[in-house]
């Protein structure tokens, strides 16, 4: 294959994988404490809108990213209040948050910018090549000439791994997601941990959304998150709730997406959707135990403390 094509494919794969990685890494942490946030999609779209508004208000992309994080965190806060503090069912609450996120962002967008249909033009988050590393053939431009949010993702993967496996907080997190009763008996503050990690995941998802708006497309459009919140949940599973593997899984999904465009360029008119479906099939296989055991945290999606009828 033409090395130029390979290089640009690699670059696209990484670029498409970054927002997934950010959302999935945050979600990994919250799922480790036993919270599955299907409302992540809501955080992403909120982050996209927040990023757009923030960038326009301050005139540059950087503040946009921060605004996006705040928006994503806010949406996650609503989820957390219901699903953790009020102990409502996590699945249903998450579905509501996603619906609400899509709905309200659409409303706010149209209220601010009308329904004319012309696309917003936003200040972009420029790529930031790392000197030296970005010069490595193929790999360099793909991994090290990305927007700074990509580097955040690279840094988070080992950092979160270290947090989970090498610190007491991480031990408590893992304990809370496996056996919250036992963890609580050992003095772990289960609900507080769940709350914090969920907010953290929301903030990261918000950054992912802001990245979409400011680094990827340069504009905002309703529903532009395009299901990435749900995909992030699949990424977490494929990555076996282990941050470095989650990063790899996210890039894998990004590659599958990028493949779509490249097969089209190569003249493959059909069939590329099958490649799009492949990551999901592999995730299912992982759950079924065919690619080694992917075991979810035992208390995932369980409300805690349990209310007895």
């Amino acid at each position: 294959m033409d090395s130029l094509l390979l290089a640009s494919f690699a670059e696209a794969a990484v670029r498409l994988g970054v927002p997934l990685a950010l959302a999935a890494l945050g979600e990994t942490l919250s799922e480790r404490t036993g919270v599955i946030n299907i409302g992540l999609e809501g955080s992403i779209i909120a982050g996209a809108l927040g990023g757009a508004l923030g960038a326009l208000a301050w005139g540059s992309a950087g503040p946009g990213i921060v605004a996006g994080a705040a928006a994503g965190l806010f949406v996650a806060l609503i989820f957390a209040v219901f699903a953790i503090a009020l102990n409502t069912d996590q699945i249903i609450t998450g579905t509501a948050i996603t619906l609400g996120g899509l709905g309200f962002t659409g409303v706010i967008y149209q209220a601010q910018f009308g329904t004319t249909g012309t696309a917003l033009s936003l200040p972009t988050l420029e790529a930031l090549p790392i000197p030296g590393l970005s010069a490595i053939p193929i790999v360099g431009p793909a991994f090290f000439a990305q927007a700074p949010t990509a580097y955040l993702a690279y840094a988070l993967a080992p950092a979160l791994w270290w947090l989970l496996y090498r610190t007491e907080w991480g031990l408590e997190l893992r304990a809370a997601g496996e056996e919250p009763d036992a963890a609580a008996a050992a003095g772990v503050r289960v609900r507080t941990l769940r709350f914090i990690t969920t907010l953290f995941a929301g903030a990261l998802a918000g950054i992912a959304g802001a990245h979409l708006a400011l680094a990827h497309t340069g504009t905002f459009s309703e529903g532009m998150s395009a299901g990435r919140g749900f995909i992030a949940i699949a990424v977490v599973v494929l990555g076996r709730w282990n941050p470095p593997l989650v990063l790899v899984a996210a890039l894998f999904f990004g590659a599958a997406s990028a493949l779509q465009f490249f097969l089209q360029t190569l003249g493959w008119q059909i069939g590329y959707q099958l490649f799009l479906a492949l990551p999901y099939v592999l995730t299912l296989a992982a759950l079924a135990g065919w690619l080694g055991r992917a075991r979810a945290p035992a208390a995932l999606a369980q409300s805690w403390p349990r209310l007895h009828d």
Binding site: T93, G100, G103, V107, L287
Partner: protein, 348 residues
């Protein structure tokens, strides 16, 4: 979920939602009265609107709502109605394109049965993963949605693409495989009757039949069902999974045979997910699903009218749906705590 609480909390939640929604609209500078007026007008204002827009919109919500309600009633979190719908639609299209010269009374039931089968098969994989390997169905049904979406995309770009080869959609299915219109001159098709009939059947089966009772028992307490009732929850759950998938698949088939006559991407604007709100608001009760699917159809059908007349963005409807779910959940929790507070926790 306690059934009694479910029936009480819905009206309370609905009122709460309306209040919050009205408040938010006012804050946003819109006139809530005008907005709701435009919405209702757009959805119900004229017979044409009612027949060709609202009721047509109601059918897939009704069918997927029933599918989700049944699953949730048995304690099964089927989030995959969307994918099952597409699987059913794909099956329906394929059969509908190859029906040849079959007469209508063979072709149409055949196509719809095929759609149900498609949906059931789509639910089979998550069902087996849950029942044989203990894998939670939430994530698996969600994943199957994406696979279905992508497969549908492949089909309409590839093997099933229209003969012209221009758009990513299939050829229209044969006339014989199409649902008859209920009211000529409108788009209202027989699928509505099918949906209503299914709602009635589901209600009767759940309430009066032995297997319906067993299903309810498993959903309420699998342990008591096994211990006191000697009910094998595995077989019940498998059955529920398949029937739920079949109904969602049927929703897809009905859309194909009644509305679009062809498959294309974005056939469903998320009916499978809206169905969760529909089912929940109905307290998982089949007959109530008829009402709530109508309510949501009004919301969705009136959305564009609301945008045109009152300037409120159509996306607002999603927000209201979200508020509905959250209100139901919150009211439910509050009522549950009050109820338990009087009775105390289980024996320690």
């Amino acid at each position: 979920m306690n059934r009694l609480l479910g029936l009480i909390s819905a009206p309370i939640a609905l009122i709460f939602t309306l209040v919050v929604a009205a408040g938010a609209l006012t804050l946003g500078g819109y006139d809530p009265g005008a907005a709701f007026g435009a919405l209702v007008e757009g959805a119900l204002g004229s017979p044409r609107a009612l027949a060709s827009v609202t009721l047509v919109r109601m059918v897939p919500l009704l069918l997927t709502g029933l599918a989700v309600a049944l699953a949730f009633r048995a304690g099964l979190w089927n989030i995959g109605a969307e994918g099952q719908l597409y699987a059913g639609a794909a099956m329906a299209v394929w059969l509908g394109l190859n029906a040849g010269a079959l007469p209508s009374w063979v072709a149409l039931p055949g196509v719809l049965a095929g759609a149900a089968l498609g949906g059931a098969l789509w639910a089979l994989i998550p069902a087996l993963l849950r029942l044989r390997l203990g894998v939670g169905e939430v994530i698996t049904t969600l994943l199957m949605n994406f696979v279905a979406l992508n497969l549908a995309g492949w089909l309409v770009h590839g093997p099933l693409q229209e003969s012209r080869g221009v758009f990513p959609q299939t050829d229209p299915i044969v006339e014989a495989a199409r649902l008859p219109l209920l009211v000529s001159g409108t788009r209202l098709h027989g699928g509505l009757l099918l949906g209503l009939a299914l709602a009635a059947v589901l209600f009767v089966v759940l309430r009066y039949s032995a297997i319906g009772f067993a299903t309810r028992a498993v959903g309420a307490s699998p342990q008591a069902a096994a211990s006191a009732g000697r009910i094998a929850s595995g077989r019940i759950l498998l059955g529920v999974f398949l029937v739920s998938g079949a109904m969602a698949g049927l929703a897809g088939g009905v859309e194909i045979t009644g509305v679009t006559f062809a498959l294309y991407e974005n056939l469903s604007p998320g009916h499978g997910y809206t169905a969760i709100a529909v089912a929940l608001l109905a307290g998982l009760h089949p007959l109530a699903v008829v009402v709530t699917s109508f309510v949501f159809a009004v919301l969705e059908a009136g959305a564009s009218a609301m945008q045109r007349s009152a300037g409120v963005p159509a996306a607002w409807v999603n927000g209201v749906q979200a508020l509905v779910i959250l209100s139901v959940l919150a009211v439910d929790q509050v009522l549950r705590r009050a109820w338990l507070g009087r009775r105390g926790e289980a024996d320690g």
